[in-house]
Symmetry: C2
Subunit: 424 residues, 2 copies
């Protein structure tokens, strides 16, 4: 077996050691590295402290082949990643007049004089490649010492991402020994263990394909990663298992291309030139918010009503007061009347109605916290379902909005004639 | 100076080295440690790989006084944190019959027989304290080797948090040399640099108080952390600077107790027994969603209308078609009419109206993407403002909802007689 190429991502910044910040740059870098078939062996965070950073850098160099260091390249006193790394590596820093000139120009364009503290940003490891930064003053560096490769990158996401894509990944392509391909199946209406039991015999025997089942709020995801020396083979491996699983799980799979459920519903409505309106009680606007997060959603999403109080249900949706009195605000008949009311007001093809108890207060033995009634009104009639969702208020709201979107998705998808579905 | 007590948090799990997961347990642990006056020196992530985990553990022990290891204590084949640490420390694992019995009981209660693979969870470092886990089968461990302290904890958040609070923090109280106190000021209507200029002379000269300014979407936060050997002094230090800054920034400070803007607005409405309704176009339900995330919001939030299309504005809010024709849907007059329309329909004390262009499409030179008109209708009359927000669609939506909440907050707060405000 080949010796693996080990990579460590070292994020530098005292704020990353507080309760308030997580490093998210490394997720982006990891995705790009994984696409090249390269794994990340360690991720480390060190603060703006010379000794501790030097220790982390030395340990990182000791245990990996490539050390990617992010952050601490700015002009202020607590930015000294460049200097610490030079000390740890025993390499000189050289002043580069052209970098200095480029920085001066950046300031001049904005009518400012460059503060003298920025001068240190023009120093580079002796022998390093300079990685240009069109989005900031801190240039990156790539150094190959023979024993190690070191990538020194700025911390701000809009600076590090293009620099990594344009100047680090091409240098790593040489170290890829394999190609990787990824496929994500998103699923509703099934539990993790239910899925696991159903697809047990489809688990890849081949070690080069990895299958992971992840439970996310309101959906389950199956992540497939395939590796091969040949890029096309990697894709075929993943696609083959993905197809088998998709067939097994049927219409419970709502996406194989990364789309969210609101995107899938939006695309279905757009293609069919149909429209939607929503009446929400316990979800409080979340369903409308999710639908309108999709650019262009105004083409199919006509209106939403957040009818929290009974009087709002009556005023905005023309729901008979006696219906609420007879069944209670959280009931299938009221959810149906909400869906039908908003559909009529909006003149939409579909109306969704949601009413429930998001908690933490307001529950009873007969109608506990988490009980949600959801209805879908359409020209064929109205269908309604009730569910009990567990968890805190925001989780109940999300799951209820997810279930409403999923009712619509399933209804539209099963109403498409089989033939037209196959050719779409 | 005393030798600092160095702490490393090592999170174990291959999923934490994928693009899909971040370690968030460490944020919780860090907050609790900081409250004891203890800083975190390093955070590291290693996967479920024996050699790499052993390397990370050895490096961690080498560079710190306390190594907190989380995850990999489960029953399956890729859970071997316990075994790796024992090997690295050169310490034997001992079988504990009472742990085994407790686990057996957990399964029995649920009518299940314990799988034999769980047996390894009953092994403990020789000489370690057992940390009970009422929420799972994996017990934690606390080991003091003299040279090092090691806390071995399970990965699931609902297991690690109570275990850390109840069994690790009390053991660390002995190592606290100082007390820490924290205060967070939340601010709207000012930029980071504006605030920095205004409070420059208030920056703590004293090294024992730390001031950090953080720019978050739609608000700026000032985090103050004070340290002292005496808990009361730490609090006084922070409170003193906090008061000076609050007075300087005036009504721009909306919270000093951690509350979100929607919580502050909710409390103001509740105290005054007043009610609110909202009509949203470009925010698409986000304002209603944020308001209804607060438990008990049904007491003051009466209804919301998501009137994305012109016909929805006309149907739900009675807005004259010619008003939209004359000024365009994104205009101060239409925002005002939306606020007034929803206030009237709901019979609320306040009505908020938001209309704008969230993008990425739909912008013109006269009305660019990010232009948002916001109106607040009340018994005194209606006020309206327009803003241009930058960023992607979701960020524009959030900033617009934030600005609307802030208009209401400022209006209510300035309408409270000065005397009653001072005593509240």
């Amino acid at each position: 077996m080949e010796k693996p190429f080990r990579i460590e991502i070292l994020a530098v910044g005292s704020e990353l050691l507080t309760p308030f910040f997580t490093d998210t740059n490394s997720l982006y870098l990891t995705e790009k590295l994984n696409d090249l078939g390269l794994d990340v062996s360690f991720k480390t965070i060190a603060g703006d402290d010379w000794d501790l950073l030097a220790t982390a850098a030395a340990d990182g160099l000791n245990r990996t082949d490539l050390l990617i260091v992010m952050g601490g390249l700015g002009p202020t006193r607590d930015d000294f990643t460049r200097e610490v790394l030079a000390a740890v590596l025993g390499i000189k820093l050289e002043f580069k007049r052209d970098i200095y000139r480029t920085m001066e120009k950046r300031f001049k364009v904005r009518g400012m004089e460059m503060p003298h503290i920025n001068k240190k940003q023009a120093y580079v490891f002796k022998g390093a490649d300079i990685l240009p930064n069109p989005n900031g003053t801190a240039c990156g560096q790539w150094l190959d010492t023979g024993a190690h490769k070191i990538a020194l990158l700025p911390g701000p996401p809009h600076e590090i991402k293009p620099m990594f894509d344009n100047f680090v990944l091409p240098r790593l392509a040489a170290y890829r020994t394999i190609s990787a391909s990824r496929l994500v199946l998103k699923i509703t209406g099934m539990t993790e263990s239910h899925i696991e039991t159903l697809i047990e015999d489809l688990y890849p025997k081949d070690e080069s394909v990895r299958l992971t089942i992840l439970a996310k709020p309101g959906q389950i995801e199956i992540h497939l990663t395939g590796k091969s020396k040949n890029a096309q083979k990697a894709e075929e491996k993943v696609q083959k298992i993905g197809d088998l699983i998709s067939r097994r799980l049927g219409e419970n799979v709502f996406s194989t291309g990364g789309e969210s459920l609101e995107e899938v519903v939006g695309t279905l409505l757009r293609v069919r030139k149909e429209t939607l309106a929503a009446a929400e009680s316990c979800t409080g606007g979340l369903l409308s918010h999710r639908l309108t997060n999709i650019p262009g959603s105004s083409d199919y999403f006509l209106m939403g009503a957040v009818t929290y109080s009974n009087s709002a249900k009556i005023a905005l949706l023309d729901i008979p007061a006696q219906l609420i009195e007879r069944h209670g605000a959280v009931s299938l008949p009221v959810a149906s009347a909400m869906a039908e009311g908003i559909r009529k007001t909006a003149g939409a093809d579909y109306g969704l109605g949601i009413t429930g108890i998001a908690g933490p207060g307001g529950g009873t033995t007969a109608k506990p916290v988490g009980l949600v009634c959801i209805a879908l009104a359409m020209s064929l009639g109205t269908e309604a379902e009730s569910r009990i969702f567990l968890g805190p208020r925001e989780k109940i709201k999300f799951q209820a909005s997810q279930k409403a979107l999923d009712m619509l998705r399933r209804r539209i998808q099963t109403s498409i004639p089989k033939d037209s579905k196959d050719t779409s």
